[in-house]
C-alpha cells in the first residue's frame, strides 16, 4: 500500500515535469521571438542548419561545390545559371557556399564541444575545491588568456601543420580557458547556496553534488557564451584558412574562398563579396542569438 502510493506520487511528479518542460519550451520560443532580432537570428541559423544538412539537394552543382573544375565557365558574373557567379576555375560560388556551411557549422560545434569538454571538469573542480587546485588551474588559464586566442590558434595550427582537423584542435585549445573561468565563477556562487550545504549534510558525494546540483545550476551563462562564441569560432576558423593554416584548397571553406578570391576583387567582385556577406550574416546571427538567449535565460535583463 505504501509502496503503491510512492509509485503514484512518482508518476504524478513525472507528469508534472513533462508538462513543465513542454510549457517552458513554449515560453522559451515565445520569449525568443518577442525580440524580433533574436527571432531573425534564430530563423537564419535554423536555415543554415537545414542548408548544411541538405547541401547536396540545395546546391545546384554539388560536384563543383566539392571542388570539381568547370573550365568552360570561368569568372561568370552572377546570372540565372549561377546566381552568385563562378570562380577562377568555373565553379558555382553558390554551391560552394552551401557546402561551406557544412564545414563552418561543424567546425564551430566541434570546437566548442571540445572546449567545453576540457573546460567544464576543470572549472567545476577549480570552483568547488578551491585552494591549491584552483590556483594551479586558474594560473594556467591566465597564461592562455594573456594571448589573443587567434594568436594561440595560429601558433598551434602552424605547429601541428595546416589542415581543417588541426585548425579545430588549435581553436579549441585557445578557447577553453575562458569557459573554465566562467564555470568556476558560477560554481563558487552556487556552492554557497543552502541546498548544496543540505546535500553535503545528507552525505551526497562531491562528485554527485558537482554533477547533478552545481552543474545544472551554473550552465546557463555557458550556453549563452557558447552560442555567442559560435560566430567568433567561425570567424577564427575563416581567419586561419585565410592565412593558409586551416582548410586546404579546394575545400569550400568560407575563409579560404575569400583568401583565394582576394586577388580577383577588382575584376570579379562577386567572388569576394558573397562569401563575405555569408560570413557576416552568420556571425551576426550567432551574436544576436546569444544576446537573445541571455534575455530568455536571465530574467533580470528581460525587456518587457
Amino acid at each position: 500500500m505504501v509502496e503503491d502510493k510512492t509509485k503514484n506520487n512518482n508518476r504524478m511528479f513525472i507528469a508534472v515535469k513533462i508538462k513543465n518542460k513542454y510549457n517552458s519550451l513554449k515560453t522559451f520560443l515565445k520569449l525568443l521571438f518577442t525580440n524580433k532580432l533574436t527571432g531573425f537570428a534564430f530563423v537564419v541559423i535554423a536555415a543554415l542548419v537545414i542548408i548544411a544538412i541538405f547541401a547536396p539537394i540545395i546546391a545546384p552543382y554539388p560536384d563543383q561545390g566539392l571542388g570539381k573544375v568547370n573550365l568552360d565557365e570561368v569568372f561568370q558574373s552572377p546570372n540565372a545559371k549561377h546566381i552568385f557567379g563562378t570562380d577562377e576555375l568555373g565553379r558555382d560560388i553558390f554551391s560552394r557556399l552551401v557546402y561551406g556551411a557544412r564545414i563552418s557549422l561543424s567546425i564551430s560545434i566541434i570546437t566548442i564541444v571540445i572546449a567545453l569538454i576540457i573546460a567544464i571538469p576543470l572549472g567545476l573542480i577549480s570552483g568547488y575545491y578551491g585552494g591549491v587546485v584552483d590556483e594551479i588551474i586558474m594560473r594556467i588559464t591566465d597564461i592562455f588568456l594573456s594571448f589573443p586566442p587567434l594568436l594561440i590558434a595560429i601558433v598551434i595550427a602552424s605547429f601541428l601543420g595546416p589542415s581543417l582537423k588541426n585548425a579545430v584542435i588549435a581553436i579549441a585549445i585557445a578557447w577553453w580557458p575562458s569557459y573554465a573561468r566562467l564555470i568556476r565563477a558560477q560554481v563558487i556562487s552556487v556552492k554557497q547556496k543552502p541546498f548544496i550545504s543540505a546535500s553535503k549534510c545528507i552525505g551526497t558525494s562531491d562528485f554527485k553534488i558537482m554533477l547533478s546540483h552545481i552543474l545544472p545550476n551554473s550552465i546557463a551563462p555557458i550556453i549563452i557564451q557558447a552560442s555567442m562564441d559560435m560566430g567568433s569560432v567561425i570567424l577564427t576558423a575563416a581567419s586561419l584558412s585565410f592565412i593558409g593554416l586551416g582548410a586546404q584548397a579546394p575545400e569550400p571553406e568560407w575563409g579560404l574562398i575569400i583568401s583565394t578570391s582576394r586577388r580577383f576583387i577588382i575584376d570579379a567582385w562577386w567572388y569576394t563579396v558573397y562569401p563575405g556577406i555569408v560570413i557576416f550574416i552568420t556571425v551576426l546571427s550567432f551574436n544576436l542569438l546569444g544576446d537573445g538567449l541571455r534575455e530568455v535565460l536571465d530574467p533580470k535583463t528581460r525587456v518587457r
Partner: protein
C-alpha cells in the same frame, strides 16, 4: 568649495602637461615631415623612376653572397665583367673591354676598363677586381658554385688572368646573374649588412627602409657618363607593396613606372588601359612537379608515366598562365642550349593513363597522393586543383597542402622517404646561361637532398650529365647532345611532370623608353638604360 578648486587645478595641471607633450611632439615631427615632402617634391623635379616589387628585395647585402631577390638592386649598384644578351646571343662588355681565350682553353685574359670609380670615389684596379672575385670564391656562398673549375684569378698589368683546371665556358660564368660582381674586396662583410653598398654601377644607395622603399641616386662619376643621357633618371626608387590589387591600381593611375610581379589575370585586365605597356618575353623559368621516386606508388615507373598522361598540360597553360607560357619539353627550356626540340612531350590521355596504371598494378587507381606547395602561391594552388580534378578521373585522390617555404623544404628533406611528400613543385631559372643547373641540381643523384626533389638516381643519367659538364668548356654542341641524351632517359622514366616554361610579363608605363627585359637577369630593370 575647496574640493572643486582642487579638481580644477588638477585638470589644469593635466592640460599643461598634455600641451607640453604635444608641443614637444610637434617640434620633433613637423620639420621632418615637411622635409620629406620637400624631398618628394624635389624628387619629382629630379625625374624619378619607380620600381614596385611585392616583398622587400634585400636578403643578402654582401655582393659575394647575393643569390636572391636583391638582384633587382644589385645589378644597378654593382657590375660584372660582361653581360650576356640571350636574344641576339651577344656579349655586352661592362667592366671588361676585351677578352682572349688561350689555345688549350685553360687561361682567359680580360682587359679591364680604365677610369672606373666606385661610389666611394676609389679607383678600380685590376688587383681589386681579382681579389674581389677570389673573395667570392673563397666565401663560397650563394651562387659561388658557378666558379667551379676556376683555379686562380690574378692581375697582370691591366688584365685579369683566369687560370682554369679544365676548359670552361667562362663568358657565361663571368656574366652570371649572381656571384660575378666586381666590388671593393677590402670592405668587411658587416659593413654591407648595415645597409651599405659600394659598387661601380650607375646608381648608388641613398636610403633604405625595410619593407617600404629603397632610394638609389645616380653615381655622377659613372664610367659610362651622363652627358648624352637626357631624360634619364636622377633617382630610382624601389618600393615594396605586398597587396597585388594596390600595385595594379598604382600602375594604372600612373603613380609608379614598373611592376615586377602582377598576376596574369590582372595583366590581362589592364593591358589595354591607356598609358600601359606590357613586356612579354620567353624566359628560362620552368615549373616542374617532382614525383617522389622513393615512395609507393610513385616508385613505380608505370605509375609515374600514368600520372604524366593524367596531367592536363594545356588547361594549366591556359588557365594558370592564361596562355603566357608553353608546355615544357623535357628539363631544359627553349632558347637555352641543350634544349631538345624532338624530345617527347606527354599529353593528357586518360586511356593511356589507365592502361599504364593497370600495368603498374593499380588498375582502379585507389591511392592517395600528397601535393605540397608554397602557401600564398595561387598559381601553384590552381595547378594543384587542376591536377586533383584530373587525377580524380582515374580514381586517384590528391591532397593539397599549402605550407610555408621552410616547412615545405623540411618535408622534402625528411629522414624517411616515406614521410616526404609525393609531389612538390619547383621553379627553376639559371644563375648563368648554362643548362647545368637544370640537369645537375634537379636530376643528378645526390648524397644529401638539395633540389633533386624526385630523389631520382640513375647512374647512366649521372654519367651523361658529368660528361656534358666536362664538354661544355670545349664544345657546346657535343655537351648539348649529352644533355639531350640524358633528357631522353629522364622523360622516359618520368621522375617529374614538366609543366610549363613561362613568359615574363611585366607592365610598365608607356612613356618609359629603353626597357628591355633580359631573362638572364630576372626582374632587373637597368635604371641606366631607361628614360622618359
Amino acid at each position: 568649495m575647496k574640493k572643486s578648486i582642487k579638481k580644477v587645478s588638477l585638470i589644469l595641471m593635466v592640460l599643461c602637461i598634455l600641451l607640453t607633450l604635444i608641443g614637444c611632439g610637434s617640434n620633433n615631427t613637423q620639420p621632418s615631415e615637411s622635409n620629406e615632402q620637400n624631398k618628394e617634391n624635389s624628387e619629382n623635379k629630379l625625374n624619378m623612376f619607380t620600381y614596385v616589387t611585392h616583398s622587400d628585395p634585400m636578403v643578402f647585402w654582401d655582393p659575394a653572397e647575393t643569390w636572391a631577390a636583391e638582384i633587382i638592386v644589385m645589378q644597378n649598384l654593382y657590375e660584372s665583367l660582361v653581360r650576356i644578351d640571350p636574344v641576339d646571343d651577344s656579349i655586352i662588355p661592362v667592366l671588361a673591354t676585351d677578352w682572349v681565350r688561350s689555345e688549350d682553353g685553360l687561361e682567359w685574359r680580360f682587359t679591364l676598363r680604365e677610369g672606373v670609380k666606385f661610389h666611394s670615389g676609389k679607383i678600380l684596379t685590376p688587383d681589386m677586381a681579382a681579389r674581389s672575385l677570389m673573395r667570392t670564391i673563397e666565401i663560397g656562398k650563394g651562387a659561388a658554385y658557378v666558379w667551379d673549375g676556376v683555379e686562380d684569378i690574378v692581375a697582370d698589368g691591366n688584365e685579369l688572368v683566369f687560370k682554369l683546371s679544365r676548359p670552361l665556358p667562362l663568358l657565361q660564368i663571368v656574366s652570371a646573374s649572381y656571384g660575378a660582381y666586381i666590388y671593393d674586396p677590402d670592405i668587411e662583410r658587416d659593413w654591407y649588412y648595415e645597409a651599405n653598398a659600394d659598387g661601380t654601377g650607375p646608381y648608388k644607395m641613398m636610403s633604405y627602409q625595410k619593407d617600404s622603399e629603397m632610394i638609389l641616386e645616380k653615381h655622377t662619376d659613372y664610367w659610362g657618363g651622363w652627358d648624352d643621357k637626357d631624360g634619364h633618371f636622377d633617382v630610382a626608387v624601389v618600393k615594396t607593396i605586398a597587396e597585388s590589387s594596390i600595385r595594379r591600381q598604382l600602375i594604372v593611375s600612373g603613380e609608379v613606372d614598373f611592376i615586377q610581379q602582377l598576376s596574369v589575370e590582372d595583366i590581362e585586365a589592364i593591358k589595354n588601359e591607356p598609358g600601359i605597356s606590357v613586356s612579354n618575353v620567353v624566359s628560362f623559368q620552368q615549373l616542374n612537379a617532382f614525383l617522389n621516386t622513393q615512395k609507393e606508388p610513385l616508385n613505380n615507373k608505370y605509375i609515374r608515366q600514368a600520372i604524366s598522361y593524367l596531367t592536363p598540360y594545356q588547361d594549366i597553360v591556359d588557365h594558370v598562365m592564361m596562355g603566357n607560357a608553353t608546355q615544357a619539353r623535357g628539363v631544359i627550356p627553349p632558347n637555352l642550349w641543350g634544349y631538345g626540340e624532338n624530345l617527347l612531350q606527354y599529353t593528357y590521355d586518360l586511356d593511356k593513363a589507365k592502361e599504364l596504371l593497370a600495368k603498374g598494378g593499380y588498375p582502379d587507381g585507389g591511392f592517395k597522393l600528397l601535393y605540397t606547395y608554397t602557401s600564398g602561391d595561387t598559381n601553384l594552388q590552381k595547378v594543384g586543383e587542376l591536377l586533383k580534378d584530373s587525377f580524380a578521373r582515374a580514381n586517384i585522390d590528391l591532397e593539397l597542402r599549402a605550407m610555408t617555404t621552410d616547412a615545405k623544404y623540411n618535408l622534402t628533406k625528411a629522414q624517411d622517404p616515406n614521410e616526404r611528400q609525393d609531389i612538390t613543385l619547383l621553379y627553376w631559372w639559371p644563375d648563368n646561361l648554362d643548362p647545368v643547373g637544370y640537369m645537375d641540381s634537379q636530376f643528378h643523384s645526390e648524397e644529401e637532398v638539395g633540389f633533386n626533389f624526385a630523389y631520382y638516381s640513375n647512374s647512366e643519367v649521372d654519367r651523361l650529365i658529368d660528361e656534358a659538364i666536362e664538354l661544355s668548356g670545349i664544345s657546346i654542341e657535343e655537351a648539348s647532345e649529352k644533355y639531350i641524351e640524358a633528357q631522353e632517359i629522364i622523360i622516359e622514366e618520368a621522375p617529374a611532370l614538366f609543366l610549363y616554361c613561362e613568359n615574363y610579363i611585366r607592365p610598365y608605363r608607356s612613356d618609359i623608353k629603353g626597357y628591355i627585359d633580359n631573362p638572364v637577369y630576372p626582374n632587373v630593370v637597368y635604371f641606366y638604360d631607361v628614360y622618359r
